[in-house]
């Protein structure tokens, strides 16, 4: 993805990377818009923009467009969903009802503040690191979670598609025989050995050489890393 804002990267608690990928993740609902601090995002853009750039106006316009869409999306997501069976054109709440609701909310706010202090005060307790295994018969298994885990496990056992692969036309044994035959005439370089071979045959030849070296039939000599590799008969 290369848009006008492709050079703008963001560092947020919930995401770190190109801004355009952040937009894509939000649109694909792989990242919750509620978790994205928009104010921080705007601040990051303002700090990163270069007002002298000839592209400044175009980039600003692009950013304002996408950021406004994020604001709209977030504000819509913040609205509570209507309950099942609840009519959209419901009668507005009476002042008494509103007062009741606000009273409850005020109490919840106070409770939340008290809870914050309580959680903070208790955050420094660390229990023994030893977690005892569940006792037999006490382990509770959630049927849904078990089903989900089983699906994940068994989906990995499915055979991967191989239609795109061509038929295998060479084996390690064949190339091991070829290497041993070449070595009967003296040491041979890997380059010389694989000259004219396709990539598959070259790779299998290397595997065959390693296999022969492992069983002690030949020695591999490479004076320096990535330097020329020479195969010679052992003993």
């Amino acid at each position: 993805m290369t848009g006008p804002l492709s050079g703008f990267t963001v560092e947020l608690d919930v995401y770190s990377g190109p801004y355009e990928w952040l937009l894509a993740l939000i649109l694909r609902e792989e990242l919750d818009i509620l978790e994205v601090p928009l104010r921080e995002l705007v601040g990051l853009y303002l700090r990163s923009r270069d007002p002298r750039s000839p592209q400044a106006l175009r980039l600003d316009t692009e950013f304002v467009g996408s950021a406004s869409a994020l604001v709209l999306l977030k504000s819509r997501t913040l609205l509570p969903l209507p309950e099942e069976g609840e009519e959209a054109g419901e009668e507005p709440a009476s002042p008494e009802e509103l007062a009741e609701r606000l009273g409850t909310y005020l109490k919840v706010r106070r409770a939340a503040e008290a809870l914050r202090s309580r959680l903070e005060a208790n955050a420094g307790h660390h229990p023994s690191a030893h977690e005892a295994p569940p006792r037999p018969g006490r382990q509770r298994v959630d049927r849904k979670r078990l089903l989900l885990s089983a699906r994940r496990v068994f989906s990995r056992l499915e055979e991967p598609p191989v239609e795109h692969l061509g038929p295998i036309t060479v084996t390690v044994q064949e190339l091991a025989a070829l290497i041993l035959a070449s070595l009967s005439r003296g040491p041979v370089s890997y380059e010389e050995l694989t000259r004219g071979m396709d990539r598959l045959r070259s790779a299998v030849a290397f595997a065959a050489a390693l296999s022969l070296a492992h069983e002690g039939s030949l020695r591999l000599r490479q004076p320096e890393p990535l330097g020329p590799l020479t195969l010679e008969r052992a003993g």
Binding site: D13, D32, L34, E35, T77, L78, L79, P80, L81, E83, E84, P95, E96, L98, A99, R101, L102, G103, T104, Y105, L106, K107, V108, R109, R110, A111, A112, E113, A114, L115, R116, R118, L119, E120, A121, N122, A123, G124, H125, H126, P127, S128, A129, H130, E131, A132
Partner: protein, 185 residues
């Protein structure tokens, strides 16, 4: 072996709080002996006298490090504390603690905003859990967990001050007055 030693050993070996019943059952002590052992351990493991403290949390007892030593313990374990909860998360927890178990919709109605994302975070952190479904339909009911009680240092729901005590009646009256005055305009 003295009863306090037995209780101490069991508590030391467990990361989770251990109930009085479980302590009596595994040590073979009577309820009275367990109670006396716990009283003795509470004195020995008080925050003023020890780096390890005895906590009464989530319906049981737990040995944990003294918060005064937390910096050293966290350095040693090489782990940071989880990020502090947001104000919205505290509100959702307070809703469920005092008014729960509640459905996601009911939490959103109390707060006046959609709270699904916050609920999801709290479930992931093990502080809320689904406990059955509502009578009217299939919506899951959410309740606070044992981990929440441990994190809040509470033995049970009753350990929290009553909701009514958190706001003075005069404050609520002012809210009503403002709303009614606003309607008259």
């Amino acid at each position: 072996m003295r009863p306090a030693h037995l209780v101490e050993a069991v508590l030391f070996s467990s990361a989770r709080p251990v109930s009085r019943g479980a302590l009596a059952s595994c040590t073979g002590l009577s309820a009275g002996e367990v109670e006396r052992a716990l009283a003795e351990l509470a004195g020995r493991y008080s925050p003023e006298r020890s780096g390890v403290v005895l906590r009464e949390v989530a319906g049981g007892f737990q040995l944990a490090t003294n918060p005064a030593c937390s910096a050293a313990v966290e350095r040693f374990r090489g782990e940071a504390r989880p990020a502090p909860l947001s104000a919205a998360a505290h509100e959702v927890l307070a809703c469920v603690l005092y008014l729960g178990p509640l459905t996601r919709g009911a939490i959103s109605r109390v707060r006046g905003v959609n709270s699904d994302a916050v609920v999801r975070t709290l479930i992931e952190r093990g502080l809320l859990a689904e406990k059955g479904s509502s009578e009217e339909g299939q919506a899951a009911l959410l309740d606070v967990t044992e981990d929440f009680l441990v994190a809040a240092g509470a033995s049970s729901r009753e350990d929290f001050p009553p909701l009514e005590s958190l706001v003075r009646e005069e404050e609520l009256e002012r809210v009503r007055e403002r709303l009614l005055r606003g309607e008259g305009r």
